[in-house]
Assembly symmetry: C2
Homo-oligomer: 186 residues x 2
């Protein structure tokens, strides 16, 4: 996971590990926590795989390593980006965050797929909610289940909100029709 986030950041331009951590905290930090213990080993692996290259900044004697995207890293990133969006919320937003780099067609397809799955999931949750409501009507102390019922209904609301959001994204790209996937450094 962290490897693709790193690649996504490097699409913007070169960066050090330390800067990456700060950037992640400020941007996708809400739904992805990066720690140095995962970041640095990832950079090492990716250098070995030749997804990125590293330049030591020698002039400033600052022990600073600047990483750059190599062609292999770039193509791996774009391949990952175009994979279907899963409802595993975390990956969904992480991918969408980089969607400016994805070509317009795949983008539309993925968002529509996702919208369809969300609809399906909302329906399922509605069914579960009704089963629970039925069970609740038959027990003597329904008020003692206040929290678990509310968490359940929160789930439905949450997915509904996500669906509204995906709709908004689909509408957004339609309006913003100039934007059809960038080649780098948007």
């Amino acid at each position: 996971m962290i490897e693709y986030i790193i690649l996504g950041l490097l699409m913007e331009g070169d960066m050090s590990g330390y800067e990456m951590k700060k950037t992640i905290d400020l941007s996708v930090g809400m739904f992805y926590k990066a720690s140095y213990g995962s970041l640095y080993p990832a950079l090492k692996r990716m250098t070995e795989k030749e997804w990125v290259s590293v330049t030591e900044e020698e002039g400033s004697s600052k022990n600073k390593k600047i990483y750059s995207l190599l062609p292999e890293g770039r193509s791996r990133f774009l391949q990952w980006l175009g994979e279907p969006l899963t409802l595993d919320r975390n990956e969904l937003l992480l991918r969408v965050f980089f969607y400016d780099y994805l070509d317009g067609d795949t983008r539309r397809l993925r968002l529509q797929e996702c919208r369809y799955n969300l609809d399906h999931e909302i329906g399922r949750l509605q069914a579960v909610e009704q089963i629970v409501a039925g069970e609740l009507a038959e027990i003597p102390d329904p008020q003692n289940h206040f929290f678990r019922v509310s968490v359940l209904s929160y789930g439905k609301h949450f997915f509904q909100m996500l669906k509204d959001y995906v709709d908004q994204l689909l509408k957004g790209v339609e309006t913003n029709h100039e934007n059809n996937g960038q080649t780098g450094k948007p």
Copy 2:
């Protein structure tokens, strides 16, 4: 994590590992995925720690193990339940799901703490959003950052929604004042 969910399920009544998995999938499954590979080893550990006891159903020759809550497991569960709610969304909803078992005072305190933290976080996100808006105004192609800006604003909406939800919970317990923490099997 999974250990506390298991304890929470056993507060309801005895259950087998297989039933637990099904129950989790149907209830907290939205924000917590349980696999047998984590479930069964957890049950083994918890039996060794004497948090739960196990009874083999012999009559039916069905190789079925029914787990029950032991006093140590019960007190561990209640202790976990009363810990502060973190904004790490996952744990938040997981804990709240079992909040019917928590005493009314701790419950109110935790929800209010959480509300306060959410307010703080929303403020921080608003600030980040404004910084980004400022940066965006200075670049020539703002439409190429549509997705990352929208994910950012989604984050704010999400936290706002979560805050509204916590408010609703606080209001709910006020109305539902009979519900002041259950002792088991609600």
